[in-house]
């Protein structure tokens, strides 16, 4: 028999193992493969540039400049998106409206995530009566359809906050109200998810180990369990932005959302149904922008969900 060859030459290239990838690398690789999600992310970036960058090109005064002699003009070179019922340029209003709509989406989600995570984590971690109490409350809020709650809260809290002036720009007080009430009515969904995660994760050995070494509860929650349940929270938050933008659009459309002079994509559509035939540009442009934003976020969220799903380990 031959002398046993050197070990290294026994192994062809397929035997050599690739170095193991970290979770973050794995996630990024899988996300990258989801080309549509990448395209969506780019689209979103462009929309942000449109809204916030556009604010540099077009002044807010121009967006709010009314000239009733120019009302309801079809798209033209002077007004690429046409003018609205009081002669304001729609393109400019979509720029500033975009800023507000996008901002509402992000901040409302912040509130919603904060509330949802805190409540869900507390319920899931402590269990027992805390859990029952919190979950009963969550169920109660969850079972009242969001839009009805919003309509009532908007009517009630609507006038309470005065107009704010931040960084030289004036915002209607209703903006703050809307952000809060959207955030405060959207958290139950996330709270349930977080609770489910905590319920299952707290049985794991690493939690036991942390407790055995005397780690405080708050540390266990925030530094041990929470990072492990980050994936569904991230996905939920992403999709929550879309939901918040849509919700704001609905309620502004009904006239109960953000009030003038602050423009949002939603309130630009208010009353547009009276002009469906005569001035379709009133609702087509803001509507398309909302659609594009929500669509991109949904694709992005989908891609994130695939990438972050711990069940599939393949690259």
């Amino acid at each position: 028999m031959d002398k046993p060859p050197e070990r290294s030459s026994l192994f062809t290239t397929d035997e050599a193992e690739a170095p193991p990838l970290s979770l973050r690398q794995l996630t990024w690789r899988r996300f990258r493969r989801h080309r549509v999600a990448i395209a969506a992310a780019i689209t979103l970036a462009l929309l942000f540039v449109y809204a916030f960058g556009g604010g540099v090109i077009v002044s807010e005064r121009f967006a709010n400049f009314t000239d009733t002699s120019l009302r309801l003009q079809a798209p033209s070179s002077g007004h690429p998106f046409g003018t609205d019922t009081v002669g304001r340029d729609i393109l400019a209003r979509t720029v500033y409206g975009g800023q507000i709509s996008l901002m509402i989406g992000l901040t409302a989600v912040l509130i919603e995530t904060l509330a949802g995570v805190l409540i869900g984590a507390a319920a899931g971690f402590y269990g027992g009566r805390v859990d029952t109490l919190l979950m009963r409350f969550t169920e109660a809020v969850f079972n009242i359809p969001q839009i009805f709650l919003l309509i009532v809260m908007a009517k009630f809290f609507g006038g309470m906050v005065p107009n704010l002036t931040v960084l030289g720009r004036t915002y209607s007080g209703s903006l703050v109200v809307i952000i809060f009430i959207i955030g405060l009515t959207s958290w139950p969904y996330l709270a349930r998810i977080v609770r489910a995660e905590f319920l299952s994760l707290k049985e794991n050995d690493f939690v036991l180990a942390a407790r055995a070494t005397g780690t405080r509860n708050s540390e266990i929650i925030f530094r041990h369990i929470l990072p492990n349940s980050a994936a569904p929270i991230v996905v939920s938050a992403t999709l929550g932005v879309a939901n918040a933008i849509l919700t704001e659009a609905y309620i502004s459309f009904l006239g109960l959302g953000v009030q003038p002079p602050t423009a949002t994509w939603g309130n630009m559509l208010e009353g547009a149904y009276n002009y469906v035939a005569t001035a379709p540009w009133l609702w087509i442009f803001p509507g398309l922008l909302i659609l594009l934003t929500v669509l991109s976020i949904n694709f992005l969220g989908d891609g994130l969900r695939d990438a972050l799903d711990p069940r599939s380990r393949t690259v």
């Binding site: 028999m1 031959d2 026994l10 062809t12 397929d14 035997e15 393949t314 690259v315």
Partner: protein, 328 residues
């Protein structure tokens, strides 16, 4: 006696985003009427895929049956259309799968699942099929069968479910049963019961059995012939006694050596096979076992040995005669 099933040169690949998986590479084996063939090998060596390929149960994208021939009753199963295969599946050739917990439909009653094949293939009415089902369940050792027809899989234990699967497979009196690791997911004691059950039924009905397993202990108790598979290749094929008395392929030797044995001294350590199974994403070149083989020579790494007969009914695919340690 002619072969009931004769498979030659079966090659199946899967086209995945990560590349092509070379699952089965030119496998050949035969089963005669009433004979029991055991197909042995590690997980992932292509045993299951071979059987699924024959029955047309491999999803054709991403799978692809590149070449091969599977003669059954004078017909090449690999060339038949799905409708034609449907007439054979469950009727002439049945299959029993590995995991009884997931192989039965959880929302349909046991009665329905056992009688389905009979009603489709043998034209029985509902009552006839139900009566036969009770009979079958009885034969496989399920007590109080007629009462349990209306029950659901979750109301049966793992061992019982596997018995139900066997009953299902027998329902149309098939000539060949393919059992894909039917006892792997069960306790050892239940395993023994199932094996005994199959042996008994086999004697009663005279059907042929292909028993896929990675457990050489089970093989010794019930097979007539054995095929050893590695990385999608058949590397040794012989009568069962011959395999244990006179293994000729290094892999078979290593498998037998790795078995824990009751008659060895306790101080001896178990002998695992060094190295790890090959990456099926790489097109096989040379003998697949070469990287792990004790008897490897230069030729092994470049040329893939084909199956050669070394004595009656005993074939191996190897360049080296392990009895003397010399190349053949």
């Amino acid at each position: 006696m002619t072969n009931l099933l004769e498979v030659s040169g079966l090659t199946t690949r899967f086209h995945t985003p990560e590349g092509t998986v070379y699952a089965v590479n030119g496998a050949s084996f035969e089963v005669k009427q009433g004979e029991t063939l055991a197909v042995v090998g590690e997980s992932g060596c292509g045993k299951s895929v071979s059987m699924l390929s024959i029955l047309g149960l491999v999803a054709v994208p991403p799978g692809e049956i590149v070449s091969g021939c599977a003669l059954f009753d004078g017909q090449d199963l690999l060339r038949l259309k799905d409708e034609e295969l449907q007439a054979i599946r469950g009727k002439d050739i049945s299959m029993v799968f590995q995991d009884p917990m997931t192989s039965l439909n959880p929302v349909l009653s046991i009665g329905l699942q056992v009688t389905e094949a009979m009603r489709v293939h043998c034209g029985y009415s509902a009552e006839q099929a139900a009566r036969r089902a009770v009979d079958l369940l009885d034969q496989v050792g399920i007590s109080d069968a007629s009462a349990r027809l209306g029950e659901y899989p979750h109301q049966f234990s793992g061992g019982m479910r596997q018995r139900v699967m066997i009953a299902m497979a027998l329902s149309c009196d098939p000539r060949l049963i393919i059992a894909d690791e039917p006892t792997t997911a069960l306790d050892v004691t239940i395993q023994a019961q199932i094996v005994e059950l199959v042996i008994r039924l086999r004697e009663q009905r005279g059907m042929a059995v292909i028993w896929i397993t990675h457990d050489l202990g089970v093989v010794a108790g019930m097979a007539d012939r054995v095929s050893v598979m590695y990385a999608g290749f058949i590397v040794e094929e012989s009568d069962v006694d011959c395999l244990y008395d006179d293994p000729r392929h290094p892999y078979t030797l290593a498998l037998l050596a790795a078995l824990p044995r009751i008659d060895r001294r306790r101080k001896d350590r178990l002998k695992p096979i060094r190295g790890s199974p090959p990456n099926l994403l790489v097109e096989p070149h040379g003998c697949p076992f070469a990287p792990r083989c004790e008897f490897v020579i230069e030729r092994c790494r470049h040329e893939n040995p084909t199956l050669q007969t070394v004595s009656t009914g005993h074939r191996i695919a190897c360049w080296v005669d392990i009895r003397g340690g010399q190349p053949k």
